[in-house]
């Protein structure tokens, strides 16, 4: 693979680090490991394959039609359905963006010692300036590659020397111990929701258009989706394993963003701690940028505005105003003092409810030969797409009742 190709895979890495491993995954994966040990590792595999299947479809649709998915959703699904999808995705985007912004401020606090409330506007300012100044490709590279600091958790997982037999058993769904069935199912839903968050596919699809993908890039699309999200899944395994080994026996419930960093510190000292905090900072920061852009992409594509980071802000003023407004609203939400980790839990569960609205139109468009011609879904993509849509429907129906029955996973 050439250097150019390696850099091109950055889109997938950013989606994986900033999308797959965002504050939702940090919270749900460590809490799942601290509650059920290795027993929920299989859910990460299911989630990773699901997001690969749908991201590949999104990238293929964008590469073939040279139009982003939301644009086609409105055309294919009609105004009413597309409006419902738009409203749901914007609410989820805003909640997620607010949680990520809070996460960035917490990381700054843990690194600098400055007051959290002072760091919230500073975090938003830095994210806005970075998003404004850097071209799309450099945004991908900055957040994607510095987010790789999270690999410290993989090293920590190995150093903690878990019982690898038990780890292997965790990849096989089966009976569970350590908590009630309802709590177990709540974490299954939360982990799948965190893995398949809607903004990931919208950002991925619009990013493909920003990167000017065409039919010649279909192979790059496969590689990007598979490598990027597989890497995200690998990091999720690592987070769950360190939580299972370090937190579960001590009865620690990782309710803070600093708690996962504690695992890196315990195994690798100050270097591990700093790498973990920097990795979390860029993963969460990347996700904040992704959610604000995904929100602006959706609005612009729904209303037919000119859009894209490739455009000068003056040439795409409504698109630019939209992502700035999402950051501003996120700032207001976080400034209320609401705990970003709690907000994350709610945003993940809420996004699960909205999943069918996101994924059904993608499946329909990717299967439509009018748009896709010979590049429409093959048998494998359709079987997997339909299977995952059934899974999405099931978890969307179960999400709210499970959250209520388990008091947000508390039992």
């Amino acid at each position: 693979m050439s250097l150019k190709s390696v850099l091109a895979v950055a889109l997938g890495i950013m989606s994986a680090i900033g999308g797959f491993v965002d504050i939702g995954d940090l919270v749900f994966n460590t809490q799942a490991g601290a509650t059920f040990g290795f027993q929920l590792l299989w859910v990460v595999v299911v989630g990773v394959v699901g997001i690969i299947v749908y991201s590949e479809m999104c990238g293929r649709v964008s590469a073939v039609s040279e139009r982003p998915v939301f644009d086609l959703v409105r055309e294919r699904a009609g105004f009413g359905s597309a409006l419902a999808t738009l409203i749901a995705s914007e609410i989820v985007n805003l909640m997620t963006c607010a949680a990520e912004v809070g996460g960035v401020a917490i990381c700054f606090q843990l690194l600098s010692g400055l007051p959290y409330r002072l760091l919230i506007p500073l975090a938003v300012l830095l994210l806005v300036v970075t998003s404004w100044v850097l071209p799309f490709r450099w945004l991908e590279r900055l957040f994607g590659y510095l987010g790789l600091g999270l690999l410290v958790f993989a090293v920590a997982a190995i150093k903690l020397n878990p019982d690898w037999n038990q780890v292997a058993h965790g990849f096989v769904p089966g009976s569970h111990s350590g908590g009630s069935l309802m709590v177990y199912l709540y974490f299954v839903v939360g982990l799948l929701g965190a893995a398949m968050t809607p903004y990931e596919v919208y950002f991925y699809s619009s990013g493909a258009v920003e990167d000017r993908w065409g039919i010649k890039d279909l192979r790059l699309n496969n590689v990007t989706a598979i490598i990027g999200y597989a890497l995200g899944g690998f990091l999720s395994f690592a987070l769950m394993i360190v939580a299972a080994v370090l937190f579960l026996p001590r009865g620690i419930d990782p309710a803070f963003l600093g708690t996962p960093a504690l695992a890196a510190q315990h195994t690798l000292g100050q270097v591990g701690l700093l790498l973990a905090l920097v990795g979390i900072l860029f993963a969460v920061g990347g996700a904040a940028v992704e959610t604000s852009f995904a929100g602006a992409y959706n609005l612009a594509q729904f209303f037919g505005w000119r859009w894209g980071k490739k455009e000068r802000p003056a040439d795409a003023p409504r698109f630019t105003l939209a992502w700035l407004a999402i950051f501003a609203l996120a700032l207001l939400v976080v400034m209320t003092g609401y705990d970003p980790v709690k907000l994350t839990e709610y945003s993940v569960i809420f996004s699960v409810v909205a999943l069918p609205l996101t994924y059904l139109p993608i499946l329909l468009v990717a299967n439509d030969r009018t748009y896709m011609g010979e590049h429409a879904n093959g048998r494998l993509a359709n079987v997997l797409g339909c299977f995952y849509f059934a899974v999405i429907m099931a978890i969307a129906i179960a999400a709210i009742p499970l959250m209520l029955l388990t008091n947000g996973g508390q039992g």
């Binding site: 409203i87 749901a88 609410i91 606090q109 843990l110 690194l111 600098s112 010692g113 370090l246 001590r250 009865g251 620690i252 419930d253 309710a255 803070f256 600093g258 708690t259 960093a261 504690l262 510190q265 315990h266 000292g269 100050q270 701690l273 700093l274 905090l277 609401y338 709690k342 709610y346 569960i349 809420f350 409810v353 909205a354 999400a399 709210i400 959250m403 209520l404 008091n407 947000g408 508390q410 039992g411």
Partner: protein, 134 residues
């Protein structure tokens, strides 16, 4: 369905503290155990030179604030007479854990070791209270 979800989320977020049964008290004991155990780990790592001063200070302050919240919640709650002694014991324990975590923020290396032991003992004590409630 989305509106219903949002309403439910808001309702859950605004939930208050009422009368505590054995199960709810058990959850509070788990919360105290978690904060104490996490504090013990942080204190021990700090004493071993594995942490930074800033991280220790900021994270222990955050844990301390959470312990204070738990203490306040326990102190203002009512419970059945048969569970009253456990509630009082947990309230006192949460207060002690909160105070220890606050001290950890600016503790010397020797104090960090002492606090690691104290917090570890508090975690075990809370676990025992939780087991007695099960």
């Amino acid at each position: 369905m989305l509106v219903l979800a949002l309403v439910v989320v808001l309702a859950a977020a605004c939930g208050g503290q009422g009368t505590l049964g054995a199960k709810a008290l058990g959850e509070q004991s788990k919360a105290v155990q978690s904060l104490a155990a996490e504090g013990a780990l942080l204190a021990q790592d700090s004493a071993d030179g594995k942490s930074t001063d800033i991280f220790r200070r900021e994270h222990s302050n955050e844990l301390s604030a959470a312990a204070s919240k738990t203490r306040a919640s326990l102190a203002s709650a009512t419970t059945k007479p048969s569970l009253e002694s456990e509630r009082r014991e947990l309230t006192a324990l949460a207060a002690k854990v909160g105070a220890d975590l606050k001290r950890l923020a600016s503790a010397s290396e020797a104090e960090q070791r002492t606090l690691a032991k104290a917090l570890d003992e508090a975690a075990h004590q809370s676990e025992r209270i939780g087991e007695s409630l099960a």
